[in-house]
Every structure is written in structure tokens, then in C-alpha cells.
Amino acid sequence: MSASAVFILDVKGKPLISRNYKGDVAMSEIDHFMPLLMQREEEGALTPLLSHGRVHFLWIKYSNLYLVATTLKNANASLVYSFLYKIVEAEEGHTAVYKASTVLACAQELKGMKDIQGDIVLTSDWVFSEYFKELEEESIRDNFVIVYELLDELMDFGFPQTTDSKILQEYITQQGNKLETGKSRVPPTVTNAVSWRSEGIKYKKNEVFIDVIESVNLLVNANGSVLLSEIVGSIKLKVFLSGMPELRLGLNDRVLFELTGRSKNKSVELEDVKFHQCVRLSRFDNDRTISFIPPDGDFELMSYRLSTQVKPLIWIESVIEKFSHSRVEIMVKAKGQFKKQSVANGVEISVPVPSDADSPRFKTSVGSAKYVPEKNTVIWSIKSFPGGKEYLMRAHFGLPSVEKEEVEGRPPIGVKFEIPYFTVSGIQVRYMKIIEKSGYQALPWVRYITQSGDYQLRTS
């Protein structure tokens, strides 16, 4: 059904640690993995699924590690990849409180902080990165005992078990050193229907922070027509609530408004919605109510996708003229196509240049431009970019008189930005109801932000 064994390999393919779950694949099979991977890469036929004889390798690469699952059977591939990612991947920009090597210390820290202050910063679901700030070769080696313990708890005979890191932390710690066995217990949470929240959580001040983050994915072809424009939104919660609170989130969801007959209000049509494990999916399917008992701390409650075409928020026009053997001239015009009251922060426009370009010269109407030779791009940064404004950048590069032989791809222009207090879809949190049997009052706080997602404009 699933994995026979899971391996963590270093970048050269040497196993750092492994766990044999089913015993039907010889552990030495992993020796074939790296040569196979190299060979397939050379042939240009590398895929996330490789097979050697009757053994199938499902692998992902994470920083300088390979995570490989082996199987002989017709395993559920999507389950295996989800599982591998669940184990390892750290969310970008995620800040873990934990100190890298001393899990012991961090566990205590966690306990302590919960009581004292309300603001633990913890975002990701990913198991290992919750234990180690970064998952890398050293952290595996430094913590092999706990890695073994985790591997033991995460999967049994190829079936993934408990992968909720917050819950795992409650009973897998190296505090075993100090505790007598009798005291270490399975938290009932593990097998509860509510397997993501423990009982008995207490906060002095009960609060929920809601972040509505929308990322705009854009693909524009070289002659300026928009090929793809979609909004991927995400609602992230930081929950500091005592007990077992029942939460209900109200959005200006068009389907809901139609169901309840309040069509006058401005509403948003969500094309596809994905929810965290805690949300009652059948309830949502029935009457579009988003109701749940939240995990403690940070988590992503839901994500949604809209493909309603919106005006690209930052529009780029570019002219890249290449005069062989002498120079490249680049002209980029950026225009903020959002309301005047809003401001885009941290705008970064990356423009590709030939890899053999030299002696850069720039001129910008605002912001600053920088040549990043290792990425073959010019990055034009604008700290604050108000709506409706239009800015210009010119760059000039020299080219060597002897042309390079290999053909280069034509990478697109990429844009990064963040526009706070604004959602491009118009989505709004109408309410967040919090009900706990002790009857405390809790405050929800909402922030909106729109940012660039995969924002690409092809060049000619």
C-alpha cells in the first residue's frame, strides 16, 4: 500500500539514517538509487519515480538531503510524496523557536513559554523542521536517536500514523533522559477524533490572529497578452485560545450568499477551497459553513483559488535589445495598476541578462538596480511603489566580442511585491465566532495582504 522503507540520504547518496518498515525490500537496494538518479538525469529523463529491477524509489530532494521511500508494490504514490513532504519540508519564511541541536532544551522552552507569554511563533506542520530548525545532514546526525523515534511513530508497516508535529512533541522528546517511563504517556489526542489539539490548553488572554494572504500568479507572453492569471489565497491563523473552542469563520463567499439569499453584498466566488484537517468538510459541503476546533498556535486554516482575471497589479513593459558582440540594452517600465491609496512594498523586478554580459550601467527613475551575476539577472528594487505610478529603469551591458557557443534559454522577468491592507479578490472576513464552554471572550484580529506569487512575464 505504501512505503517499505524510508531513507534519508546525504547529497552524495550515502544513507544517513533509514527505517525499514516492512522488510520486503533489501536495505542494500538503496545503493542503486544514486547511480540510477545520475543516469536518468544525464538522459534528461529524471522523474520523481525511479525503478531498479522490481524496486521502486519515490524521492524528493530537500536542501542537501534526499528523502527516498522504496516499495515493491503498487503503492499510493501521492500518499508517499505527501508523507515525505510532511516529514521534512519547512515552510518558507517560517521561524521556529527551537534551537537546532538541543531538542531537550526546546521542549522545555515550549512548555515554559506557553505559560508565560502568549506569542510563540510557530508556523509549519512539518514534522522534522519543527524538531530541528533546519533539516540537514548535521541535524540528522546530531539527533539520530530522536529521528529514529520519530520515524517509528510517523509510520507503521508503511501506513502513516500521527504526523501532527505539535502532538508528537507532547510525547516524543528526549526528556526521556530525565523522566521515568511511568510518567511518559500517550496523549489521548493521538487517537482522538480531534487529533490535532490537546486538552487543557490555557491562555490568560484569548486571541486569534487571522492573516488573509493572497498571492497573484501571472503568466504573460512576450507580446504582452495575459496567458494565465490566478489568485491563490490562504487564511492563516495564530490561535491563542484556552480549552476546546469551537470556531466559525464567515467569509463573503458567493455560494454562501446565494444559499442564504443575501445577494446584494459584494461577494467572491471561490473556485476551489482546501481546508486543514480540522475543518468539518461535510458541513462545508452542506451549507458552506467553515466550522472547526483549531489546533493550538499557527496553522493554515484554508487555501482557495480564483481564476477571475484581474488587471495585473504591476505591469511591466520591457525592451531587451541585444547587439551581438557589443552590448545589451534594457529598458523596463513598471506600472502600478492598483488603487492610488495602496502602496506596494518591497518591489523587486528581476530582468534576465545574458550570462556573458559585463560592465553593467544602470539608470532608474526610482529605487536602485543591482546586477546579480550568479543568477544572470538585474534586480531593480523599489521600496515603496504607490498605485497608479509609473517608473522606468534602463540598463546597459557590454558583451564580449567572441560569442558563447551554447544556446541560452530565455528566462522571464519576475516581479515580487507585497501590498498590505488589500486583497485583490475582495475577500473579507465577516466574522469569526469563538465559543468555548467556559464562556470566555476572545478577540479575533484580521490582517489582509496581497503579494506576488509565481509572477512571470516572458521576454522575446
Binding site: 544517513l16 520523481p48 522490481r54 536517536v145
Partner: protein, 999 residues
């Protein structure tokens, strides 16, 4: 201080030192030592020598230490089975520890110690743990049953653990339910017959309830298990779908894909007229699109599955073209998959956008991607006629880039475009010829040679061009050699005067200087053909080519249906059935989509056609066929049937074509055309090599063997005598696996005539090779026994394919069958074998071979058959009609002269005339389709623009029927005149024609 310090001890005598430390009295020192041992184990050092010392540390109250010792045990127990017994006591004790964490740990580890000797000691502790009060222990114990079963299946059965496991499906705790389901599924997978997961509406209901409460992984186990269930009717299917649909909103991609699998499978049972069907269809698209925002590996799995889904149900994603546009930073495997799906979704509505994208991709840098993009442009041209012109001009632009691989790829696809739209784009030939020198890949060279040969009359210097290739003839690949041979023969037939020398040269190169049997035999055939009857040669070599299909690389429908049942798994990523890559028969069950069973007959869609014609949606894969497919994909060409009568008839079928001025016929030639001076070895199997390269045609061809009649349609790919088949890009070229394999000519020949046509492969259609089952005996008339069935003729054997369903509440046994006397003496050739008792709701499928040796009594109507079926409950009677063409024998091909004489001989009053209306096929297609049902075209004439097919067939009782079929091009109505000495069969023969042609 971190754990890494444990890795530092590498000095000699380490084991010895560790041994001492392990036996230390100090707890702390002991634990440190165990850690060092584990560290050594982790880096791959053999520390098995320390087994007794480590096991001694097992009795500890330190949880961490215990875990480490257990870990050590799991690793080394197998190599030290005798000492592993030492651990048993501790396991037994730990299983009764007051701390559930310890109990679970013990039961979990126990199962991982794969030592047969100790398993029996573990039964008691396991039994207790399965009933433990703590769900954490129960869920761990449930998995342990699967582990134990893997080591000793018999023990698990004897101990009754399977029943306990089944009881856990009703456990109050969702996680226990999920693990029990997973464990049972795992066990059931390796014991397909065990009927372990006895799924019924009640247990399904429990699973659906647990689905809402368990972890994401548990949801996947349950969904995967649900996918194995076949609902009893469309209502049940719909109600399950309704409860599964909410899972499409789960954040975990694997949950989504497993839910998609259940929905795709159960949708099969829903009538397309239902509103709910449309709703469901709409709900599927958004989650599939969202999967494309997942991590690249998950995207890859999703794309491979979307590829299957759009073939099965193109309507799901037809409006979602844009999301498959390739992004610069997509990994190459994602890019290639997206491209494939783009082509599948290309239609007139979106072709402009698609082409613009493809053109963009064709100028990228990644060679594989560029090649595929160029090929995609060609495929668009073939698929969307309106775009052909733009595609061709785009390809010409690309040829102008002079990038070597782009040019070659473009030429290969242009050749296909020529095939699809003859006499339209030949003006570009001049441009192509300019690039002759840059072609260094066999496929491109072969394509170019084909073009030159095919259009020899328009290319002034065709002879020079071909001659230039001839110089290095022996250095060319077989593909090019074969192509060159055919092209020069074509050239000769078109311009005989100037090219005599050239043709002699190539024939002598092919026949005398080549060791390749394919090449040599083809050379001989041409040679003989040219020297005996140049007119016939012209008819054969320059015959009109059948159309090439619009859709390429389509997965054969039965395989596609099987793969749909495996959405999300490795099979769906490889696009191969599990039997092709999972070792052994163990663990491989063929799955097929459920047939559509409406709860009320009225929901059946109206187009359910005349009796005997399979409705398009009907799906019913027969396992043997699946096996066959699996085998074929492994390139193990082992058709299930072979035998002298077949081989003979196959040869004859080949020969028939040749006479009939037909196509695809050279295969029969070695036996038909006498080899010159006995120089040709009688290697019957050899010359068909190139044809075999088309695996997909092969599979579908073979697939149809088990169906009684299948329409050739659309995907006609050409000819054997020519090499178009091998040239066509549509199918993977695999060389010629059969070439030079003596000893199997019978099999090979059997396949050949069928290779020339294939099943209707349009997207959305499936399972064409099965006649639909008709309900012969409804359950209400037979105390709960429902019999449905169909008749087939397969490889000379008539069979009655029965499906017995027990809809009663008691078990049925002791089945037997008998036929009443009938017109053609049909009788069961074997007793009705129902091996196991048929339990309630169970269905069994049986293929009952029939003989025609029974006693004869003319029935009214002629083709009616009265059947009696007995079981332990009662005897039941029913009557059915069989299609006459199951009686058409393989040697029903009449000699030409004989035909003429017989036709004249039969009195005119015996002639019956019929109209076959609305048949869109042309004469070739008609002929080949009829031939597959043993109606043979003896001769073909063209009279005043009408095609006259003269055909013969013979019934099992030796009655000959002669036919004249008049086909007017452009007119879908045919006139059929039948002459037979027993005129009463004519009406039924006509019905057989109708059925075969309209199916």
C-alpha cells in the same frame, strides 16, 4: 553536546569496549553504550555480535533506552533468530505494562521481528492488545496483524485474528478503524480471493462515517478501500459519491486524489442523463487544477493522473487549457507532462492559443522538450483540421531555424500530416528536400524517404535522392532500409523506365546482402510481385492508404479503465497495470470499472442500441484480457490462443486480401507467392516485423479476439506491405520483437490480420471489445438467481459468457446447464463450472465453451436457444437468441472461381436483398471488419463508381452463404444480396451484417 559524539568512536577493539560498557552496572553508562551501538548500526557497521549484551538491556524502565534496544532488535533479530527468543519474555511483559505507550511499543516492535520461530509466542499478547482499552494500543495492534500475516499467514488465520481485525472496523475510535481498514486491505491485496474486505452497504456506511473523523492518512486508507467496492446500483453509487465529494476540499493532495479515484470509478455507474452526473463532473475540475500548485513531485503524480482522466472523460477539463501552460521554472518532467495534456485538450476552440504556446516552446533550449513541442504541433495539425495549415506553416518556420533536431522532428511530423491530408501540403516538399543532408536520425531519414517515395512523381530528382541513400544502405538502420526498399519500389512503379536499375540494385541489396529476415522477405515479396504481375504489384504497393487516427498515444480502453481504478498509485504514474511491474501473481488483482447498473431500467440512455451492439459506456473488462495487456506491455507476446486451424485461417485471411486487391496483405504472401527458386526460408513470421512495432494496435487487436465483433474505426493504420505502420509516430516503435523467432509462427500469424484494424479509440468511449451482457433470466423469475450473458466467437471457439448473480439470501451451489435441441446443434462443450458456492450478492463470470455437435432440431426463430439451468434451489428455464455470426467458421473463404460457379448455380429465387442503412464505413473498412467475423471478401470490383464486394461465409453446419455488397461512396446505405441454398438463413445473416457493421 549532541548525539554526533556517538559516531566518533572508530578505533579498533571498539566492539569489545562496547561489550564491557553494555554490561556496566551504571544505568547512564549502559544507555550511552546502547546509543553508540545504534550509531554504529546507523552508519552501517555490523554490531550484531553484541546481540546478547544489548538484549540484556531490554529490561529497563527507561523508555528511551527501551526504544533503542527495540530498534536494535528489529535490525538484527533476523540474523540471530535463536537469540531473538530471549526477547520474547520482555515483549510479553511489556504488552501488559500499565503504560499504553509501552504496550503499543512492544506490540509494534514484535511484529517487526520477522523471525518465524517466535511468532507463535506473540499471539497471546497480540490478542490482548487487540482488545486493549486504549485506542492507541488497539490501532497499533491492528497493524501488527498485517505484519504477522506477512510472516505467517496461516497462523493469523488459525488464531482468528482476521475476524478480530474485521470487528475493529466497527471500533468506536476512528484511528483504529482506519488502521484496521489499512491492515485488511494490505492482507486482501496479497490474497485476492480471500474476500476479506467483505464490503456491503452496512460496512460501507461505517467507513463513510469514520471518513469524517479520522486523520488525513486514515482518510486515504478508507478512500482506497472504498474504491474497491462495487455498489449494487446507481443509487448507491450516487449516495457514496455524495459523501466522498467533500474530501475534494482536503488540503492533502493524496486525500484529494484518492477521492477522485472513488468518484471516477463510481461515476461509471451513473447515467449521463442524471443531473447529479453533471454536478459531479463540474466538481472534479477545480481540485484537479489546484493539485498543480502542489510540490513538483505531487504535481507530477497529478499530471500523470490527469492524463488518464482526460482520456477517460475529456469533458472534465476541457475548459482548463491555460493551467497547463508551461512555466519557465517547471521541472522538465512537469513540462513534458503538461505538454502531453495540452495536446489532448487541444480543440478548435483553443487551438490558436495552443499553437502560439507550442511555437514558443519549440524555441526553448531543452532538447527533449523542444522535440516534444514540435511533435505536438504536428499532432495538433492532425487533430484539428482547421489548424492544419497554420501548423504546417509554423513547422516550416521552424525548419528555417536549421536547428538540427528541430528540422528532423518537423519532417517526421510533416510526413504524418501528408498522410492525414493527402494532396494538400505537398508544395512544401521542396523545402523539405533542401534539408536532406542534415538528417542523421533514422526516424527522420525514414520519414523523408517515405515522402520521396510517396511523391516520386512530383519530385523530379526522386531517383537521385533515393540513390544517394542507397550508397550506404548497409549502414542504415532497419527502419530506413525497409523504407528505402519500399520507396524505390514505389518509384519504379511510378516511373518504370528510368529506375529499373535502381530497383534491381535495392532488391539485390535487400535479398542477397542482408541478414535481416524482415528486409530480405520484403525484398523477395516485392521481387516476386514485380516479376509475376506488375499490375497487382501496383495495386498492392500503391494502394490507397487508410486514414491515420486523430488521437495518438491513446491508452487502450481496457487498460485505461484498469488504470482509472488505480488513480494515485504507481500504476497510474507508469501508465502500466500493476501486473506489469509488481512481481509475481501475488498482490496483483485486476481491477475494472463497474458496469452500469441502473436501479430502474428507464434511466438507461436511449442510444442503447439494437440488440447485440455494445453501448459506448458499457464497461466490463474480462480479466484474461487484462492479463494479456499486462503481458504485452512487458513485450511478452504470448497471445492466449494459438493452434493450427487458426494459423491456417490467418494465412488465408492474408491471402484473401491480396486477391481482393486489398491492403495489408503481404503477410500472407510467403505462402501464397511461391518463393523464387526456394531461396526464401519459410519464415512465416518474419515479414511482419514492422507491423508489430505498433504495440498499441497490437494490444487492441488482440483485445478484440475475445470480443465477438468490434468495429474498426478511425485508428486504421496502414499497411503491412508498406512501412507506414512502422513510420507512424503515433505508437512507440519497439523494433520487431517477433522477427526471427521460429517456432511461434502460428501465433504471429494469428495476430497479423487483426493488426490492420483496431478498436474505436475515441476518448470517452471504452470497453468496446465486449458485447453487452443481456439479462436472460431476471432474478425475480429464478428465486434470486440472475443470469445475464452474451455469445462470442473467439479463435474458432464459440462460447457463452455467463454472469451469474446471487440476489437471494442463501448460498447457491450445484449449478448445471443444459440446452434444448436447436437449429445448429449448439451444446455445452463442458459442464458449467462454478467452483465455489455463490454467496448472496456475489457474482461469478463463466465462459462456457459451446460445440455444435449437439442434436439438431429446427427452431423458430432459427437462432433461438432454450436453456435450462439448475442449482440447489430449483431448475430454471429461459430462452434467448444468439447472433448468427458466432457460427461463421474460419475457413469460410471461397475460391474465386468456385464463387462464380456457385453464385450462378444457386437459383435466383433463393436470392434475398437487404438494405443496410447509415453505415459510414468505406469498402476497405467494411471488408476488414467483416473479415474479423469470418465474412470473407472473395473479390472486389469497382463498377461505375460503386464498390462491389463479393463475399462468402460458411456456417458450422457447412451451409455456404454468398453475398454481394454494393457500396456507393458517399452513400451510407449499402445493398446486400445474399444467395444461399438454405434461404431461411438469409434473414439472420443480414442481421449479422447489421450488427457487425454498426457496432
Amino acid at each position: 553536546m549532541t548525539d554526533s559524539k556517538y559516531f566518533t568512536t572508530t578505533k579498533k577493539g571498539e566492539i569489545f569496549e562496547l561489550k564491557a560498557e553494555l554490561n556496566s552496572d551504571k544505568k547512564e553508562k549502559k544507555k550511552e553504550a546502547v546509543k553508540k551501538v545504534i550509531a554504529s548500526m546507523t552508519v552501517g557497521k555490523d554490531v550484531s555480535a553484541l546481540f546478547p549484551d544489548v538484549v540484556n538491556c531490554m529490561q529497563t524502565d527507561n523508555l528511551e533506552l527501551k526504544k533503542l534496544v527495540y530498534l536494535y532488535l528489529m535490525n538484527y533479530a533476523k540474523s540471530q533468530p535463536d537469540m531473538a527468543i530471549m526477547a520474547v519474555n520482555t515483549f510479553v511483559k511489556d504488552c501488559e505494562d500499565p503504560n499504553p505507550l509501552i504496550r503499543a511499543l512492544a506490540v509494534r516492535t514484535m511484529g517487526c521481528i520477522r523471525v518465524d520461530k517466535i511468532t507463535e509466542y506473540l499471539c497471546e499478547p497480540l490478542r490482548k492488545c487487540l482488545k486493549d482499552e486504549d485506542p492507541y494500543v488497539r490501532k497499533t495492534a491492528a497493524v501488527c496483524v498485517a505484519k504477522l500475516h506477512d510472516i505467517n499467514a496461516q497462523l493469523v488465520e488459525d488464531q482468528g485474528f482476521l475476524d478480530t481485525l474485521k470487528d475493529l472496523i466497527s471500533d468506536s475510535n476512528p484511528m483504529v478503524v482506519a488502521n484496521a481498514v489499512a491492515a485488511l486491505s494490505e492482507i486482501a491485496e496479497s490474497h485476492p480471493s480471500s474476500n476479506l474486505l467483505d464490503l456491503n452497504p452496512q460496512s460501507i456506511n461505517k467507513l463513510l462515517t469514520a471518513l469524517n473523523e479520522c486523520t488525513e492518512w486514515g482518510q486515504i486508507f478508507i478512500l482506497d478501500c472504498l474504491a474497491n467496492y462495487t455498489p449494487k446500483d446507481d443509487r448507491e453509487a450516487q449516495s457514496i459519491c455524495e459523501r466522498v465529494t467533500p474530501r475534494l476540499s482536503h488540503a492533502n493532495s493524496a486525500v484529494v486524489l484518492s477521492a477522485v479515484k472513488v468518484l471516477m470509478k463510481f461515476m461509471e455507474m451513473l447515467s449521463k442523463d442524471l443531473d447529479y452526473y453533471g454536478t459531479l463532473l463540474k466538481k472534479l475540475a477545480p481540485p484537479l487544477v489546484t493539485l498543480l500548485s502542489a510540490e513538483p513531485e505531487l504535481q507530477y503524480v497529478a499530471l500523470r493522473n490527469i492524463n488518464l482522466i482526460v482520456q477517460k472523460r475529456p469533458e472534465v477539463l476541457k475548459h482548463e487549457m491555460k493551467v497547463f501552460f508551461v512555466k519557465y521554472n517547471d521541472p522538465i518532467y512537469v513540462k513534458l507532462e503538461k505538454l502531453d495534456i495540452m495536446i489532448r485538450l487541444a480543440s478548435q476552440a483553443n487551438i490558436a492559443q495552443v499553437l502560439a504556446e507550442l511555437k514558443e516552446y519549440a524555441t526553448e533550449v531543452d532538447v527533449d522538450f523542444v522535440r516534444k513541442a514540435v511533435r505536438a504541433i504536428g499532432r495538433c495539425a492532425i487533430k484539428v483540421e482547421q489548424s492544419a495549415e497554420r501548423c504546417v506553416s509554423t513547422l516550416l518556420d521552424l525548419i528555417q531555424t536549421k536547428v538540427n533536431y528541430v528540422v528532423q522532428e518537423a519532417i517526421v511530423v510533416i510526413k504524418d500530416i501528408f498522410r492525414k491530408y493527402p494532396n494538400k501540403y505537398e508544395s512544401v516538399i521542396a523545402t523539405l528536400c533542401e534539408n536532406l543532408d542534415s538528417l542523421d536520425e533514422p526516424e527522420a531519414r525514414a520519414a523523408m524517404i517515405w515522402i520521396v517515395g510517396e511523391y516520386a512523381e512530383r519530385i523530379d530528382n526522386a531517383d537521385e535522392l533515393l540513390e544517394s541513400f542507397l550508397e550506404g544502405f548497409h549502414d542504415e538502420s532497419t527502419q530506413v532500409q525497409l523504407q528505402l526498399l519500399t520507396a524505390i519500389v514505389k518509384l519504379f512503379l511510378k516511373k518504370p523506365t528510368e529506375t529499373q536499375e535502381l530497383v534491381q540494385q535495392v532488391l539485390s541489396l535487400a535479398t542477397q546482402d542482408s541478414d535481416n529476415p524482415d528486409l530480405r522477405d520484403r525484398g523477395y515479396i516485392y521481387w516476386r510481385l514485380l516479376s509475376t504481375d506488375p499490375v497487382a504489384a501496383k495495386e498492392v504497393v500503391l494502394a490507397e492508404k487508410p486514414l491515420i487516427s486523430e488521437e495518438t498515444d491513446l491508452i487502450e480502453p481496457t487498460l485505461l479503465d484498469e488504470l482509472i481504478c488505480y488513480i494515485g498509485t504507481l500504476a497510474s504514474v507508469y501508465h502500466k497495470p500493476p501486473s506489469a511491474f509488481v512481481e509475481g501473481g501475488r498482490g496483483v488483482v485486476h481491477k475494472s470499472l463497474p458496469p452500469r447498473t441502473a436501479s430502474s431500467e428507464s434511466t438507461e440512455s436511449p442510444e442503447t442500441a439494437p440488440a447485440g451492439a455494445p453501448p459506448g459506456e458499457q464497461l466490463d473488462a474480462v480479466p484474461t484480457q487484462g492479463d494479456l495487456l499486462g503481458d504485452l506491455l512487458n513485450l511478452d507476446l504470448g497471445p492466449p490462443v494459438s493452434g493450427p486451424p487458426l494459423a491456417a485461417s490467418a494465412v488465408q485471411m492474408g491471402a484473401v486480401d491480396l486477391l481482393g486487391g486489398g491492403l495489408d496483405s503481404l503477410i500472407g504472401a510467403p505462402s501464397f507467392v511461391a518463393p523464387p527458386a526456394a531461396a526464401v526460408p519459410a519464415n512465416l513470421g518474419a515479414p511482419m516485423g514492422s507491423g508489430l512495432s505498433d504495440l498499441f494496435d497490437l494490444t487492441s487487436g488482440v483485445g478484440t479476439l475475445s470480443g465477438s465483433y468490434v468495429a474498426p474505426k478511425a485508428r486504421l493504420r496502414s499497411g503491412f506491405g508498406h512501412t507506414e505502420a512502422s513510420l507512424s509516430r503515433a505508437a512507440p516503435a519497439v523494433g520487431h520483437p517477433e522477427a526471427g523467432t521460429p517456432g511461434r509462427p502460428g501465433r504471429v500469424l494469428l495476430l497479423i490480420p487483426r493488426l490492420t484494424w483496431s478498436s474505436p479509440g475515441g476518448p470517452g468511449r471504452c470497453g468496446p471489445s465486449e458485447s453487452p451482457l443481456q439479462v436472460w433470466l431476471p432474478a425475480m423469475k429464478a428465486k434470486g438467481l440472475e443470469i445475464s450473458g452474451t455469445f462470442t466467437r473467439q479463435a474458432g471457439t464459440i462460447s457463452m459468457d455467463l454472469q451469474l448473480t446471487n440476489k437471494a439470501l442463501q448460498v447457491m451451489t450445484d449449478f448445471a446447464i443444459q440446452f434444448n435441441r436447436n437449429s445448429f446443434g449448439l451444446a455445452p462443450a463442458a459442464p458449467l463450472q462454478v467452483h465455489a458456492p455463490l454467496s448472496p450478492t456475489q457474482t461469478v463470470e463463466i465462459s462456457l465453451p459451446l460445440s455444435t455437435a449437439g442434436s439438431v432440431m429446427k427452431t423458430e426463430p432459427l437462432n433461438s436457444l432454450q436453456v435450462a439451468v439448475k442449482n440447489n434451489i430449483d431448475v430454471f428455464y429461459f430462452s434467448t437468441l444468439y447472433p448468427l455470426h458466432i457460427l461463421f467458421v474460419e475457413d469460410g473463404k471461397m475460391d474465386r472461381q468456385m464463387f462464380l460457379a456457385t453464385w450462378k448455380d444457386i437459383p435466383n429465387e433463393n436470392e434475398a436483398q437487404f438494405q443496410i442503412r447509415d453505415c459510414p464505413l468505406n469498402a476497405e473498412a467494411v471488408s476488414s471488419r467483416l473479415q474479423s467475423s469470418n465474412i470473407f471478401t472473395v473479390a472486389r470490383r469497382n463498377v461505375e463508381g460503386q464498390d462491389m464486394l463479393y463475399q462468402s461465409l460458411k456456417l458450422t453446419n457447412g451451409i455456404w452463404v454468398l453475398a454481394e455488397l454494393r457500396i456507393q461512396p458517399g452513400n451510407p446505405s449499402f445493398t446486400l444480396s445474399l444467395k444461399c441454398r438454405a434461404p431461411e438463413v438469409s434473414q439472420h445473416v443480414y442481421q449479422a451484417y447489421e450488427t457487425i457493421l454498426k457496432n
